[in-house]
């Protein structure tokens, strides 16, 4: 079996380090974004065409603060990791530093995500930012 394509639970214990885990997270967040955007489009369609109330139900879930924490993680991680993949594919010489680049990626991701979560949570608790 090709371990390089595995992104399930056993991958958590597969000792390949940062690049493998970012690959795995890239796939999981990709499926999360597909689910989010697909349901967003379908519920927009249902609300626009007045096909029942399930679009409003999805809207209430999407606008809740805990769901936004998940969505921001998916979108932000997928974007930053995707940009890393594109840069390393355009300049393959940089593949030598792949592990370091993954650390750099987390160094960019964590402050942005932490600030966003802080704002979302503060807004959920106090009502204002």
């Amino acid at each position: 079996m090709a371990y390089g394509k595995y992104s399930g639970f056993r991958g958590l214990f597969y000792n390949a380090g940062g690049p493998y885990h970012s690959f795995s997270l890239h796939r999981l967040t990709a499926m999360g974004i597909c689910l989010f955007v697909g349901l967003h489009v379908l519920s927009s369609f249902s609300m626009q065409q007045l096909l029942g109330t399930w679009g409003t139900t999805i809207n209430i879930i999407y606008e809740s603060w805990w769901f936004q924490i998940v969505v921001v993680f998916c979108v932000l991680f997928h974007t930053i990791n995707g940009i890393r993949v594109v840069i390393l594919d355009i300049w393959p010489k940089l593949l030598r530093y792949e592990r370091d680049v993954v650390y750099l990626e987390w160094a960019i991701f964590i402050p942005i995500y932490a600030l966003t979560v802080y704002i979302i949570v503060m807004k959920a608790f106090t009502g204002t930012v």
Partner: protein, 142 residues
Amino acid sequence: MRPRYVPQRGINLDYLMWLFTRISGVGIVVLALIGLGSAMYMGARLQMDLPTVLRWTFLPNPSHVINSNIPDVTMGWANAFWQIMQFLIIFLAFTHAANGLRMIAEDYVGHTLWQPFVRAFFALLWMAMIIIAVYVVIGSAY
């Protein structure tokens, strides 16, 4: 889970989709930055709040999100510029997504009899989602 079949070198569908994934990924980021910049430009004097700025970044959609104020709803998708922006995001994002899901599924299916069905399924899903999304954009303008 099966070992992956290595395609031939040269220009073929897998290579073109590999290239497209990179280009469309960068393209979506650029489109989002244009949306974000425009939201900043439009909202700077109107005290636009954060959710509204983010809605202009991706989805100035008057018929789904309730909780933020788009300053002028008719501006949303009635404007040709935002319609074209949205069509570009729809095309790039759904093609990127359908191809990505196809790759994930094919890693599990492999070169079996199921493969053409998997490809047909994602091709149909891709077409259906693009048609529905474009319909929502055009329908919101009226």
